[in-house]
């Protein structure tokens, strides 16, 4: 489906081109990425946080010398706890920063909330993958985690991360102009993300033990679908003036 591209601005001519959702989503994600790369505050802070948490966990758990069979549940749980808190540090900036700098108005004037949310969720998903790229190998090295099913682990990180990104972005929109933003975010995120985290932990556990976690993955994907629909439909309510 080709949409009409307005290449020259002719004053007085009203263009009836419909912007596609994908245009908006990609443009926003790219813009957030560009701005973030130039600013570098969020990315650096979040990756540092993940690395610190990883180090702390390794120092704490390492000396206990858990027998290899007992390790997977602990590793699975700790992985997602670190991912959750790292995400809670970085992902809410999606909307918070726009409100702080005053650019939210320009965005809201130009685009429907659903598209803005989708674009930011995409950026947040990429940010999450960056966190996972640091954390998961870190686990393999420092906590001697061995994934029996690497594909299963990868699928879990992707499916779990997507849900985490979507829900975090939505809640970021909700809490963008509330007081006590940082604490508030964790409080309101925890109950909603718990089903996701528990399922992801279960899936990670199965993957670490060698099996492809089919059942938990199905639940994750269903959760992701429901959360995406819910977030998109409620976006304008969450982010209106």
């Amino acid at each position: 489906m080709r949409r009409k591209t307005e290449l020259s601005a002719t004053p007085g001519r009203v263009d009836q081109a419909h912007g596609s959702v994908l245009d908006a989503v990609l443009a926003i994600a790219l813009k957030d990425a560009t701005a973030e790369l130039r600013r570098r505050t969020a990315v650096v802070a979040v990756l540092f946080f993940a690395a610190t948490a990883l180090a702390l966990v390794s120092f704490a758990i390492g000396p206990f010398g858990l027998p290899p069979d007992d390790r997977p549940p602990v590793q699975a749980a700790l992985l997602w706890i670190i991912l959750f808190f790292a995400a809670a540090t970085g992902l809410p900036r999606a909307f918070a920063h726009e409100e702080e700098t005053g650019t939210a108005l320009a965005l809201r004037k130009t685009l429907p909330a659903g598209r803005v949310l989708a674009g930011k969720a995409l950026f947040n998903f990429v940010l999450f993958l960056a966190i996972a790229a640091v954390t998961v190998p870190g686990f393999a090295v420092l906590l001697e985690a061995r994934a029996g099913s690497a594909a299963g682990l990868a699928a879990t990180v992707l499916a779990g991360g997507y849900g985490l990104a979507v829900v975090s972005t939505f809640l970021s929109a909700l809490s963008a102009r509330a007081g006590q933003r940082h604490v508030l975010f964790v409080l309101i995120a925890f109950p909603l993300l718990s089903p996701l985290l528990l399922t992801a932990i279960q899936a990670t556990l199965e993957a670490l033990r060698g099996g492809f976690p089919g059942t938990p993955l199905r639940v994750l994907i269903a959760y992701d679908g429901a959360a995406s629909c819910g977030a998109y439909l409620l976006a304008s309510v969450a982010w209106e003036e």
Partner: protein
């Protein structure tokens, strides 16, 4: 309406008395502990009902933007929190009698704990927004989003194979395995607690509305 409210007190008194006096304690339970089903289950039912009410009225608020709907949703969450906490306490008491521990990380238990956290989170969110219209709108968005996402908890819970939680009232055979006195008191309690919920809901919501109207004058 008023007559129902007045009857609620003697009715509930009768239910409580009956719970302790009429049915025999169930087999397979330690001592009189099975009687807790007359309190624990209705509390659980009520706090779940509160969630549905809150979600429904949140949707109504977003459609109509009538502050009353927001007040009802808010009250429903507060009362849902109350009954949720009671569910956890009664469940915990039962667990301590049956298995000697106060908490077991049973999926059903944990899902109620999360429900309580959800209610608390809703209330925190409300407390963090000053402007009444924005507060109502944001709270409604949160409640509806939760309604979309939280049911997955129901899928997470049963996936654990073994559960300590006693078989629920509705079981695979589709029959209610209770004798007549137990059944009578159980459903009586369920009705009574529901009535209690509706009455508290009405009271709290109307009180909130009254203070809003008072401020507007």
């Amino acid at each position: 309406m008023k007559i129902l409210k007045l009857l609620l007190l003697p009715y509930m008194a009768a239910v409580v008395a009956a719970a302790f006096l009429w049915p025999e304690p169930a087999k397979g339970f330690i001592g009189e502990s099975s009687r807790i089903v007359f309190f624990h289950v209705p509390c659980a039912w009520t706090s779940s009902l509160a969630f549905v009410v809150a979600a429904a009225y949140s949707l109504a608020y977003l459609v109509k933007r009538n502050p009353w709907h927001d007040e009802v949703a808010h009250s429903a969450v507060k009362i849902g929190l109350l009954f949720g906490v009671l569910t956890l306490i009664t469940g915990s008491l039962f667990a301590s009698i049956m298995w000697g521990t106060w908490w077991n990380w049973d999926p059903r238990e944990s899902s109620y704990l999360l429900l309580v956290f959800l209610y608390a989170a809703y209330l925190f969110l409300r407390a963090a927004v000053d402007d009444p219209e924005r507060r109502a709108r944001i709270a409604a968005a949160y409640a509806l989003f939760a309604a979309v996402v939280m049911p997955f908890l129901v899928f997470v819970a049963p996936r654990v194979t073994a559960s300590l939680h006693p078989q629920t009232v509705i079981n695979p055979q589709g029959k209610i395995l209770m004798d007549t006195p137990t059944r009578a008191v159980f459903f009586g309690a369920l009705a009574g607690f529901s009535g209690l919920f509706l009455w508290l809901l009405s009271l709290d919501a109307r009180a909130t509305r009254a203070s809003r109207l008072e401020r507007a004058r």
